[in-house]
Structure formats: C-alpha cells, structure tokens
Symmetry: C2
Subunit: 711 residues, 2 copies
C-alpha cells in the first residue's frame, strides 16, 4: 500500500504542459515556453527544499544515532546490574540484551518511518504545486496521498515492529513476560521522537520567526519572498517539524500504548489460565483494522469529486470512523467474546471524533478566536492577555471529556469481565484498566488517517511556497492557499488528537508501570511521593522554558545570518543575486541540533534521577503528575498558539470591523497587534507544545523500561 | 501594640510647615503660603483616596457578608445531614453549629483585620507624602509603621481567633476533637480571602490597565496625572489589591496552617497519653514568639538612622529572623523537650530567608530581567516569549528548595520522636508530618514583618501619587519614588513568601485532611482518584482564565467611562475642570464585584462537587494536584509579571544600550515593547497569581471542613 501510494505520487510528472486542455485558465493563457519555464522554476525550488531537508535529516539523524547507541548501552548496563527479578523469573542478562535490542529496533524504525515519510513529503510538495495548475481535486489528492505514505508507514512499521519482536522473543510459546521484554521498543521510539520533535520544532520556528522578523518586519518583504535567504529554511522547517516530528510522536504513541495494553493483556492471560493469546494480541489486531479503515478512508477521496477540500477530508475521516467501528465490533466479538469490549472501543472512537470538533471550535473563527481578534483593538498587550486566557480556559472541556471517557470505559471494562465471569487479581482494577486500554486502542484506530492529514499540512504549505517563488499565476496560488488553510486546521487537529490519546493512554501506561514495578498504590500522602509529584510538575515547566528559549536563540542566529547576507551582497534585496539559501539552512540545522540537547537531557535524566534516589513510587507520582501537568500545558500552548494564528487570519480576512462597519485588515494597528500574538504563539504551538506530547510519553516509557531498576 | 502604632501614625500632622527647620531643601524655599497650599492639596488628594477606598470596602464587604452568611448556612446544613461520626464520638448537630460559628468568626476577623489595616493604610499614605518633605527616614518609618498596623493586626487576630475558639469550645478540658471543630475558622477566613483577593485583584488591575491604556497610550498623559479620571481609582486599587487582598491571604494562611498543625498535635496528644496540651498549643506559641520578633524587627528601624530604605528593611528582617530563631529554640526545648524540633523550625526559618533572596534575584536587575530587556530589541513578541520562558524556568529553584525543606523536616520529625521514644500510629508518618508542621510554623514566624513590608508597598505607591497630584517639588517626589521602588520589591517578596509557605504547608494540610477523613492513602492508580487529580489541575487553569478575563472586561468598562468623561467635558483634558473621580471609582467597584463571582463560585463549587460525586480520596487528589499546579502556575505568573515590570524599569533606567553604547530609554521601540510585557504581566502578578494563592488554601480548608461529608 505504501509503495503503491509512494509510486503513485512520485510518478506524477511535474511538467504537465504537454496536454494543455485541463490546465486551469490562467496557465492556459501562458505560451508553451512560459509554461515550461514555470514548471522549470517549480522544479528548481522543489529541489532546493529537497536538498535542504535531506541536509537537515542527515545531520539530525546522525546526531540522534550516536545518542541512541550510547543510551542503549547505558540502558543495557543499568538493567544488567539491577534488572534481575527472581520472583518473576526474569534474568538480568536476558532482560538487558533484549531491552537493548528492542530499544535499537524501536529507535531505528521510528527514524526510518520519519525519514521515508519526509522524503516523500518533500517530493510531493512540488507535484502538488504542479497539480494546482490543473485542478483543486488533483492537488488535494496528491498532497493527501503524499501524506498518506507517512501515515501508513508510521502505523504499519510500529505495528510490525511490536509484533515482530513479540514473535522473535518467543511470544507465542511463552507470552507471559514477552511484552515486558519489548518495552524497550517503546522507549527507543520515544527517545528518537523526543529529539526528532525537539530538533524539528526548534528548527521550524527558528526559521519561521527568523524569516518573519527580519524579512517581513525589517525589510517589508511578503511571505515566501525569494529574496529572503531564510525562505527555503522556513519551507524545510514546515516538513521537519510537522511531518518528521509529529510522525515520530505518533509512532511512539501507537507503539507504547500497544505495549502497555499487551502488558495488561498478560495479566488477564495469566488469570484465565486458558492459554489464549487473544488478550495479548487484541491491541495489535484492532490497530490493524484501524489501518485498513484509514486506507479506505484515504482512497475514498477521488480527484474528480472534490469541490471543497475540507469537506472531502471530512468524508474520508467519517468513512474511517465508521469502518473502525465495524472493525472494533468484529475484533471485540470474535477475539474477546463480549460486546462490552466493543462498547469500550466505541467510547474511544467517539472521543477521537469529539476531539476533532473541539479543536475545530477552538481554532476556527468562533468565540475564542473572535475574542482575541476583538482584544487586538486595544493593542498587542490585550491580544496576548486574551490569548492566554483563551488557552487557559481551553483546558476545561478536554479534561472533562477525557475524564468521562476514562471513567465510563473503566466501568465498561469491569462489566465486561463480570459478564465473562473472569476475575483478574484480587480487585477489579485490571479489568477496568483493560477497558480504558480498549478505548485507547479505539481512539488510535484512525491514527494513519490523522497522520496523513497532518503531513498534508506541510505539503500544502510548501506547495504554496513553491507556487509563490515560481511566480505562478494568481489562480494557482489561490488553490494552494486554500489547501494551506485546510492544512492549518488539520495540523491543529493532529495536535489535539495526539494530546488526547496521550491523556487517555496515560492511565493505561501508569497501570502497566505499576504492574511491572509490582506497586499496588501511588500514595501521595508519602513525603517522597509528594516530592516526586512536585518535581514532575516542575519538569514540565522547565522543559517548556528550555524549548522556548532554544527557539529564541536559534532565531537570533538566523536573523544575524540573513542580515549578513544582505549586507555583504546588496544585490540580493534588489532581486538580482540569488541568496545563499543553503547557508541559512545550515545555520538553522546546527543551531537546532545544538539547542535540542539541553531540554532533551533534562527530560531523560530527571526521571532517571528521581527513580534512582526517591525510588519506584515517587517515580510513579512524577510520571502521573508530570503527565497531567504536561497534558494541561500542552493544551494551553497548542490551542492558544492556534487561536492567535487564526485571530490574525480573522483580521486579515476582514472580519474585524470599525465603528462604521469597514473591515480592518492588513496594515492597521489591530493587525500589527495580532501579528505579535501570532509570533508569541509560534514557539508555543510548534515547539514547546508538541515537544510536551513526547515528554509525556517518554516519561511513561522510561519508567516502564527502568521499573526493575527503581524497585 | 497595634493601637500604639495606629495612634503613632495617625497623630502625625500632615501640615508640617509650622517648623520649617527640618524641611528638605526645595520645600524650604517655598513661601509659607505655598507650603500650606501644598499640604492642603496633599490633604485633599489623600481624602479622595480615602473616600474611594471606603466606598469600595463598604460595598465589597457588604457583598461578601451576604455570601458568607449563605455559605455558613449551607455548610451547617450539609454537616447536619452528613457530619455525624460515631467512631470519633462526633455528633452532627454539635459539629454543624460549631463549624458554622467558627466559619462566621473566621470570616468576621479576616474581614475586620483587612478593613482596619486598609483604613490605616489609606490614612498613612498622605502622612508619608508629607513626611517626605522632611526626610527619607521620616517617610520610611511612617509608611512602615502604617503597614505594621496591618501586619500585626492580621497575625494577632488570627492567633486570638484560633486560640479563643479552642478555649471556648472546651479545648483545655477535652482537646481531642476541638481542632476539628474549629476548622471552620480557617474555611471562613479562606472564603473571605478568596473574594477579597479576587475582588481587590480585579479592581486594582482594571483601574491600572484602564488608566494606563486610555491615559498614557491614548492621551499621552504621564502616570498619576490628575486629568485622568481613573487616577484615584488606580491609587485606591493599590490598596485594595496589595493591602486588603494579601492581608486576607496571609490571615487565612496563618490560621489554616495553625489549625492543621493542631490537628496533628491532637494525634500526638492521644498517642502520648500524658494529657499534655503542649503538642496542640505549640503552633500558637511559636507564632506568638514570631509576632514579638516581628514587632521588635519593625521598631528597630528608626527615622534618624535610615540612609538607604532597602537596607533599613533588611536590617529589620534579619532582626526578626534571628529573634524568631531564639523564640523557636525556647519553644521547642521547653514545650516539646527536643532540640530536633528546633532544627525542624530552623529549616522553616531558613527557607523563608532563601525565598526572600530568590524573589530578589528573579525580580531584581539580574539575568532573568536583563534577558527580557534584551529581547525587547526585537519587539513586543520576543519580549513576551522571553518573559514566559523566564516565568516557566522560575519554577525550578522554588520547587527544589521546597522539596528539600519538606524532605529534611520530615526526617527531622521522625528523628525527634525516635529521640523522645514516642510512637504515633502504626507508622512514623505522623511524626514526620509534624516535623514539616514545625518547619511551616518556623516559616510563618516572620509573617507580621513580611506583611508590614507588603502594606508598605501600596502606602509608598500612594504617597508617590499624592506627591505627584499635589505638585510637590521634585526632590520630595524623588524620596517617594525611591520608597515606591523598594515597595515593588517588598510586594513581590510577599508573594514569593506566601506561595512558598502555601507549598510547604500543603503537605501538612493534606495530612490533616487525611487524618480527619480517616484516609490512609491517596492512590493515584484508582481511576476516580486520577480523574480528581486531572480536575484539580484543570481547576487552576480555568480559574486563572476567569480571573484574567475579569480584568479585561473591567478594564474595558473603565476605558469607556474615561472616554465618556473626556468627551462630555473637554475641559478636563485641558486641566480646567476636575474629572469625576468618584464615578470612575464606582465603575471599577461595581465591575470588580460582579466579575469576582464566577471564579469565586467555581473555586468553591467544583471541589464540593468532586467530593460529593467522586468521594474523599478523589477529593484528596484534587486538593494535592490542584495545589501543586496552583503553586507552579502562581510562581510562573508572579515571577513573570514581576520580571516584565522590572525589565521595563531596567530600560527606563537606561541600562539597555545600543551599538554605540548610548542608553535606550523611554520613547523608543524597545521601551514600547517592554510596556507591552508589563501590561501583560499586570493581571498575572496582581490578579490571577495572588488569587491562586488563596485558591490553593481554600482547597485545603474546604476539604478539611467538608471531610465528614465526603467520606
């Protein structure tokens, strides 16, 4: 499927001038020579982005590879010394090498899916731009299929990796401990995701903020102007942040959450005594159904029928949701023999649908965005205050929805086991947690579709950049602008989905940790546990601070470089000499890779230190409170950032009116105020917020893997 | 003492022109007539502030009184139905009326200390202004003594109230349940504090932001210009926010924390079997020593010896700290017969000293503030990003310091009981918690001194306003400006102190709740407990959002009123007609009182709802995680707000320089950017942040009081 889609996308010729009959109006009126010049320019700009992206990928993954190897070694050594557990019959050496290998496999597959997905994305952008000379449907389909390569690859490789390790480590012969032996896979994936998201997030906003501050504000250039040396870095940045970063984020989500559910499955497997591996493999089967549903949802969208891009994506999403429901019903009934589990899964599917609409409400032109736009009337300060108030407020509904989903799926889980007459452990706790696990799996079924929409975002954005830089006729740009706007929504939506699934899965992952560490409780009334909890909350704030500062410093480096190029070669600003795009890309790359180290190390080392000094229960509190605070703060930053961005767009679209009813648009004080808000929101929504998703999950996997050491 | 200080302050004549010999230079050179005109103007402006403040107080406390009576009734009814506890021998009717009465007494004394303290403060400001015509020492002493009335009154009434109820409810005959019967006192105090701080916080920033946006930005008037109709409301606001609000905050802190410690004392009292009420009364005795130490510290500062205001306050503070240490040593040795308890208390005293210096670092002209000022070079957006990053980062050291203080005092507590050979309960848990309680008491010993410095802030600020509006000579204004700058530091410092004591006390109050509710654990691994925890975190963000929005709406009302006055009476702006100050005060008052209802109700009702639906253990998790998140977010908002404010002052003081080394001061783009940051910080540091202090403690007292209902 992936290969089919990738070949489908890559086989599209960029030069479509051969048959002019279906070119859109303005391009038709160009002479054949002008047409081929246009496509030549598109190709050139596409190549620039491609080589910028590969340069970044090469250097980033080289850095990550080294760190991964060191981490794998340290991990194996730690487990070799402390990992033995006679009670469970786990031998230290065995645990150490298997965890080390799982870690490396997880890291490798996460990196691989990120790299391939991104290479396809940066080849798709120029093809989308070219397709936009023909029709909206064409452009949308190509961009979405390019995104689908990423989506399906990520979900597929995570599924294959978990299943492959389970099988290779003898899961079918002796399933009891196998999931605990492969938790390293999740940690490896999180480890890579942390640095991929941090590095990508810093890179993208350093380039974006740098390009904007020096280009738009200082020199008065429009967006994506080719005279701005940072413009290619900015376009590359959209890919490395949204595509590679979020891809790695969801790769580890699906992996870690499957493994967590499998660990619970083992507890049930043991309790039933019937040697039925269905309990352990159920999560993987459900997700396979989800992947199929997503593929169908993606293929439902056909170029000829597209009138409205957002509607087309909605149809695909609903198709995926309905098919996921059917798949869940089959898996629950056949494998687990109870409709109650289907109900639990349905709760997860419904939660994911609700979150899609919550995000649309927050980031669409509704009350929150309008409030911020209105506040821009009294200046930048009130715009910022209003945006922060909106961001803070926006934690309420998601928390309530997640609470309801958790509570009900927990009860449904208990009901299911009562129904089946199975008792697990001395309380109904594991039964309830398994209910939440099924709900989490239900939520993750549409992951491939959501990821395809997410990667669609930077592809559409880049297509717009290529169109602009290649001086294509206005109506081509209109098409890519439309796709870009839809892409902004889908990017915001993926963040909402990622954080909601993280929150829902958090309880499952805690439970897996408690199960692995043999803890019966996490008692906040103990002083060291309370301290662990406080440090968990603090970690989230400190990590965010480091991520935000990293953007500031990297943007500064970019600004200095752009100023240097303009000063040393005045011809650039006159449009006579081409700027040195590669050097700007290089500056961003170096700076982002340097700056990702400090927050990355903090995220890895503080949990390890707390676990070693305050031990397993305090670690659990750190994990739980860190997760709660992380989910809250990520929601604040993602939604405030998205709302600021759209408040600016709301004003640019002329919706804000003065006393006489005239539109207040670009160039006004109100617009300037909204630009300040948008700039503040950038590192929030594209660096710190998404990095917190990964931090939250890293906390889970790191504690799961090192549980034997913390006991 | 209070009466002595109040009479001392109020007896100072405002008209000091009779003997010109010690007037400062510029005033001496005025003719006698000019001098008496100056003092007449001062008197007039002082009266305006006084009547604005009393108008607000009257209306605010009338509203609060009604709500308090309703709340007391509901509380009594709830306890009447659910409060019985046969095991402990508590009868529902008895509990209901005693809690209701304690609630009313706590509410009344909190309100009383707030009102008297503030009435003295708004009489002291004009006397400080007048004293500034003589010498720095004179002005400082009067302002500080005016503040001392508040500080000593608050600490004294809280002490008297707790002791009086303990005695009246038969604490000496049957001490076992008395502390549980008087927890209502703490809740009453928190209830009033919540609305006092919210109402005051909204009022002060609505007036401030409103006055600035319309006065400085739109009309280009300087600060405190008499042509601005909002100027009196702004000066009144400083009092109602910092003086009445923070006073109520610390009144409930000291009350609730004493009661919490007494509840633990009861557990020890029961365990020793020696009928020694020393364990129960120890917190009150320590605080009495602290009050004496503070009084001595305040009296050490004598007009003649003052050269530098900050240094004088430092000397007083260190005197208080040293005397507190002596008092703690005596109390620990004589009452509890172990030096280990002295060590625990010393940890608390040291923690309070450390926090004073941490706050000075964050809000002084050090790296954090310099970073923000530097970021202003690239505009408002980078200023804001940098400020938020600083705010996020600033959670780290406080959390670490509190963790260390908690951990060590817990260990010391265990050591102390081992040393005495006393075993409480089946674990050493209560022993350790008592250690943290002693540390908390140690920290709170300097409360009266800190409060005096806090109230000093608005008095100095107001004195500056009176001086400006009365057109006093420049060197008088220099003195009040100097005091105002010191006042900004002391205000920030009180916030740091308040939040640190809240964090340190949090563990103690949780423990008192667990003791009262008969809970042995707070197990986050239970789904309803985890949901309670998530809701606790969410409450903090939602509450902050409501508080911030309230400021926005109230400021808007103020802006419209000022514009209306200028439009309808153009003579105001020309300085010919006096604006209608009273109406602006009235608008602020109404608006603040209306806007405080929503966040206030949320803060009271959500914990009650969680307790009733999810029960006692989930409530405990809500309390704990709400406290952790509240402490973190309050620290972020207080410190970011303070740092933004001082980054502006840093630029105004000419410390930021351009490439040629010239100072970049007022009127530049950099300064404008820093003003945006300052405005954003205003509702953070003066409304939402301080209100979170109260929220955190309200969570503790509400759960303590309603514990019987939640079981």
């Amino acid at each position: 499927m992936v290969i089919y889609l990738a070949r489908d996308v890559l086989s599209r010729p960029i030069d479509r001038s051969a048959d002019t009959s279906d070119l859109i109006l303005a391009v038709q009126s160009l002479s054949t020579e002008e047409q081929s010049l246009l496509f030549e320019r598109m190709n050139l700009n596409g190549d620039r982005i491609y080589s910028g992206a590969t340069a970044f990928l090469k250097r980033q993954y080289r850095t990550i590879a080294w760190m991964t190897i060191v981490a794998a070694g340290l991990l194996a050594v730690l487990l070799l010394f402390y990992g033995a557990n006679e009670e469970k019959g786990i031998e230290a050496g065995d645990l150490a090498w298997r965890t080390g290998v799982s870690f490396l496999v997880g890291a490798f597959l996460s990196a691989l899916s990120g790299v391939i997905g991104m290479l396809i994305a940066v080849r798709t952008n120029v093809r989308t731009a070219s397709a936009a000379t023909r029709s909206l449907g064409d452009a949308l389909t190509i961009a979405l299929r390019g995104g689908a390569v990423s989506g399906i690859l990520i979900v597929g490789l995570s599924l294959l990796g978990v299943f492959g390790l389970f099988w290779a480590f003898g899961g079918f012969e002796n399933p009891k401990h196998t999931p605990e032996l492969i938790v390293g896979f999740g940690f490896g994936a999180s480890f890579v995701a942390l640095f991929a998201q941090l590095g990508g997030g810093i890179y993208t906003k350093a380039a974006d903020v740098g390009a904007d501050l020096v280009g738009k504000v200082e020199a008065g250039l429009p967006e994506d102007d080719p005279r701005n040396p940072a413009v290619i870095a900015d376009l590359v940045g959209d890919n490395v942040g949204d595509c590679a970063g979020r891809g790695a984020d969801l790769f580890e989500s699906t992996a870690a959450e499957s493994i967590g559910a499998m660990i619970l499955g083992v507890a049930i497997f043991k309790a039933t005594g019937e040697n039925d591996v269905a309990w352990i493999l159920f999560p993987l089967v459900v997700r396979a159904f989800g992947a199929i549903a997503s593929i169908v949802g993606l293929l439902v969208i056909r170029p000829g029928r597209v009138r409205n891009a957002q509607r087309a994506l909605d149809v695909g999403y609903w198709t995926t949701a309905v098919l996921s429901t059917v798949g869940m019903a089959i898996a629950a009934r056949v494998m687990l023999t109870s409709w109650w589990f289907f109900l639990a899964g349905l709760i997860g599917i419904i939660t994911s649908v609700i979150f899609v609409y919550i995000t649309q409400y927050y980031t669409g032109f509704h009350r929150p965005v309008r409030d911020i736009a209105e506040a821009s009337r009294t200046g930048a300060a009130t715009n910022i205050i209003s945006g922060l108030a909106v961001g803070f407020e926006n934690t309420a509904i998601p928390v309530v929805v997640i609470s309801v989903a958790l509570g009900t799926s927990f009860q449904v889980g208990i009901q299911a086991f009562n129904d089946l007459g199975i008792t697990v452990g001395d309380s109904q706790w594991i039964a309830g947690v398994f209910g939440t696990a099924v709900a989490t799996m239900g939520m993750l079924m549409s992951a491939a579709y959501i990821l395809a929409m997410d990667t669609f975002g930077p592809i559409a954005d880049n297509a717009g950049g290529v169109t602009e830089m290649s001086e294509a006729p206005g109506d081509v740009r209109d098409i890519t602008d439309g796709l870009d706007a839809v892409g902004n929504t889908t990017k915001a939506l993926t963040k909402g989905y990622a954080i909601a699934s993280a929150a829902l899965a958090a309880f499952l992952l805690f439970s897996a940790y408690l199960e692995t560490a043999g803890l019966k409780e996490v008692n906040l009334a103990k002083v060291e546990v309370f301290i662990g909890a406080m440090l968990g909350g603090m970690l989230v704030f400190l990590f965010s601070s480091l991520a935000i500062r990293a953007v500031g410093r990297s943007a500064q480096a970019m600004i200095l470089e752009v100023r240097r190029q303009w000063r040393e070669e005045p011809g650039i600003l006159e449009g006579k000499v081409e700027p040195d795009y590669a050097r700007a890309v290089d500056i961003s790359t170096r700076s982002a890779l340097r700056e990702m180290i400090a927050p990355g190390l903090l995220a890895v080392l503080l949990p390890v230190a707390v676990g070693l000094i305050l031990r397993a229960e305090a670690e659990a509190a750190m994990l739980m409170v860190g997760t709660i605070v992380g989910v809250l703060l990520a929601t604040v930053m993602n939604n405030a950032g998205g709302a600021w961005d759209n408040a600016k767009k709301y004003i640019e679209a002329g919706h804000l009116r003065d006393a006489d009813g005239n539109a207040i648009g670009k160039g006004t004080d109100e617009h300037a105020a909204s630009v300040v808000g948008d700039t503040v929101g950038d590192p929030f929504k594209d660096t710190a917020g998404p990095s917190l998703h990964v931090l939250v999950k890293l906390l889970s996997t790191i504690t799961l893997v090192l549980a034997p050491v913390f006991i």
